[in-house]
């Protein structure tokens, strides 16, 4: 097996400049066949620039990107036939129905045998086939966009922030569709700034900040390698509980104005805190002990919160 077939995507020292702005700074990574790979980072980190260079929308400044064994700068025409793309802020023709839109894109790919009904089923749009695009909600539009990205039965699917701007319910519906893709064994390259999305869907995650990849691995490995504590949450706790925890030498923080969150290094510490609260007669409604998530990993690595990190890019990140 050659190197080109081992990895579906190979990014080597990729750099992209917009004038003086360095949007992507010398990044390298690979994606294997059948893998769901997520590029996780805040707005302006360089996610969209990276994915748009790999899926041939943009041109790189330096470095080399190989997709399906082909150089993206030289073989665009051959590459686009074998990939599916949901670009950021996807949109389609207002007055064309769901079914017509899928037929249109399958004709562009000259795919005579596209299973339009199968795609409609996959993205759960069966009762919307005759609906024009302009009448679809944000979630339905994204699901149509994913179906369009699959009309040519692509070997690699690129999804650039597929759930940005969607309400939690619509986001979960899109996640269900993406889990369906994962089950079908598709190679998926996903960008997102939602850590739950990356954690739920991705086999591997690359965390990108200010154009640089700062960590990469499975969500579990990233958390394991970058954190050595547990997070105890005391739900709807009172002020007395807060004071007790603080006096014990821990650093509690108030979350949502009612929950107390505190980092502990050992499970013994959890028991000590609970006993102290009980002895003092302080109150809380429920409790939760869990490992840190990617949000906390990102916070630790960059010192910035994932959703609020400052934007550094222009237009595309």
């Amino acid at each position: 097996m050659t190197k080109a077939t081992e990895y579906v995507i190979e990014v080597d020292k990729l750099t992209k400049r917009y004038g003086d702005l360095l949007a992507v700074n010398d990044i390298s990574f690979t994606v294997s066949k059948g893998e769901v790979f997520a590029l996780l980072g805040p707005n302006g980190a360089g996610k969209t620039t990276t994915v748009e260079i790999i899926d041939t929308i943009r041109r790189l400044t330096s470095g080399k990107v190989t997709l399906l064994g082909m150089d993206v700068m030289k073989k665009k025409h051959d590459i686009v036939r074998r990939i599916g793309v949901l670009p950021q802020g996807f949109s389609s023709f207002d007055r064309i129905t769901v079914r017509e839109t899928l037929q249109y894109y399958s004709r562009l790919f000259r795919c005579m045998n596209t299973d339009i009904d199968g795609l409609i089923d996959l993205v759960n749009l069966k009762d919307k086939t005759r609906e024009q695009y302009k009448n679809l909600s944000g979630g339905l539009r994204q699901r149509l966009g994913i179906a369009i990205a699959l009309v040519n039965d692509p070997e690699v699917v690129f999804l650039d922030e597929p759930t940005t701007g969607l309400d939690p319910r619509a986001r979960r519906e899109v996640w269900e569709v993406l889990q369906g893709l994962k089950k079908k064994g598709k190679t998926v390259f996903l960008t997102t700034h939602y850590m739950e999305e990356a954690e739920l869907l991705a086999d591997r995650v690359a965390i990108i900040s200010k154009g640089k990849i700062i960590a990469m691995g499975s969500p579990g490995d990233l958390i394991e390698n970058n954190t050595n504590y547990l997070v105890l949450t005391l739900q709807s706790a009172n002020e007395k509980a807060f004071e007790i925890v603080r006096k014990m030498g821990f650093k509690p923080v108030l979350d949502n104005h009612k929950d107390i969150k505190v980092r502990v290094e050992h499970t013994d510490d959890v028991q000590k805190i609970l006993n102290a609260i009980k002895d003092a007669g302080a109150l809380y409604v429920g409790l939760d002990v869990r490992k840190p998530n990617l949000e906390e990993v990102f916070l630790k690595l960059t010192g910035e919160a994932l959703l609020t990190a400052p934007a550094g890019g222009r237009g595309a990140e």
């Binding site: 929308i57 670009p87 562009l108 595309a316």
Partner: protein, 371 residues
């Protein structure tokens, strides 16, 4: 070039415009409104007749007969003014610009001249007029010509200089028939230019172009499908214009292959320009403003509405470098004069221009971003 892809694009564009009924209606209605407005104005110019008030102070058979003669000339529609009132006051109060006054003693003087041969017998017909009127001088000149004709007849000798009219056309054409080809050229230009600019800037802003760049469609396929789409709209619009022109104004024009050839070249040229504008204009509004800046001078300078010979010399020179001028001239050569050589000449000029802007349009169309 992939016919399958071009066909897919064409179908989507046609379905979109068909479902947007209001846009479709105004696309077709705008040139028809122009034809109806200008056609009505020109129709009255073809059968021009002036309103003329006559005050007959003589009130005799011969004076009445003379008035009848003027009326029969076909240039005037008469209104008789009461001999008892002041003609000048009538002009002021009735808002008319001219009253022709036939003096008392008209019949007597006429008989003296014709029956008795008295060379000194004459009458003076007075024009009471409002000099602020723009058409009164024309009316007086026509009246002078009619009176000169009567005087010449009464002299009994045949005129020395006669005039004869020979039209270069085999058939007499009305101004509306010269106007329709200009409106077709102008409407197709507007349709193609604004259609391309509006559609492409909208698709670019919505990110659809970015999505299309990840499919096998090429820039050439995209522009050719746009040209085909604009051509179909242009043909529909032209048919509507011709139907109205025939039904309302009973025009007589030659419908032949040249008409479709010039429509196609018109579309090619202005879709190409539209593609170039779309490339350089950042937003839909600035693209539309740029399209306006190109189409308006073209519309008025290239002879769509009136012959360029009416314009000053330097503007005529400018007109001859505008592509729409050759579409206007070519369509008139084909539809009015039936001059195939002239049509061929004009089609060669606009064809060359269309080929150049088409290639530039393909080069200017931005498929990848951030290059």
């Amino acid at each position: 070039m992939n016919l399958h892809v071009i066909g897919a694009n064409l179908v989507v564009k046609l379905m979109s415009v068909y479902r947007e009924k209001t846009a479709m209606f105004f696309t077709i209605a705008f040139p028809i409104i122009l034809i109806l407005v200008f056609g009505t104005i020109f129709m009255s110019q073809d059968n021009v007749s002036f309103h003329l008030c006559v005050q007959d102070l003589d009130q005799t058979n011969l004076s009445a007969q003379s008035i009848k003669t003027l009326e029969l000339d076909g240039k005037f529609k008469m209104t008789k003014v009461d001999p008892a009132i002041s003609a000048a006051q009538y002009v002021r109060e009735s808002k008319v610009d001219l009253v022709l006054v036939i003096p008392k003693g008209y019949e007597r003087s006429l008989l003296q001249r014709t029956m008795l041969g008295d060379p000194n017998a004459s009458v003076t017909i007075t024009y009471i007029y409002d000099p602020s009127s723009s058409s009164v001088l024309t009316k007086m000149q026509i009246l002078n010509a009619v009176i000169a004709g009567i005087n010449q007849k009464m002299s009994g000798t045949p005129p020395f200089i006669r005039s004869a009219k020979t039209s270069i056309l085999t058939k007499k054409y009305r101004f509306i028939e010269f106007f329709i080809p200009g409106i077709i050229a102008m409407a197709v230009m507007t349709l193609s230019l604004f259609g391309t600019v509006n559609l492409n800037t909208e698709l670019r802003q919505k990110g659809i172009i970015r999505k299309l760049s990840t499919t096998p469609i090429t820039r050439t396929d995209w522009i050719l499908s746009d040209i085909l789409y604009q051509f179909i709209l242009a043909v529909i619009s032209t048919i509507a214009m011709l139907v109205v022109s025939y039904a309302v104004f009973n025009v007589s024009l030659h419908i032949n292959a040249w008409l479709f050839a010039f429509i196609l070249l018109d579309v090619f040229a202005f879709v190409g320009i539209g593609m170039i504008l779309t490339r350089f204009a950042k937003e839909a509004q600035s693209a539309a403003a740029a399209a306006n800046a190109i189409s308006f001078p073209m519309m008025f300078l290239s002879g769509s509405f009136f012959p360029i010979e009416l314009m000053p010399g330097f503007l005529q020179t400018i007109a001859r470098i505008l592509p729409l001028y050759y579409v206007n001239e070519g369509l008139r050569a084909a539809m009015v004069f039936e001059d195939n050589m002239a049509a061929l000449r004009d089609s060669a000029v606009i064809g060359f221009f269309a080929a150049v802007v088409f290639i530039l349009g393909i080069m200017a169309t931005k498929w990848e971003e951030g290059q």
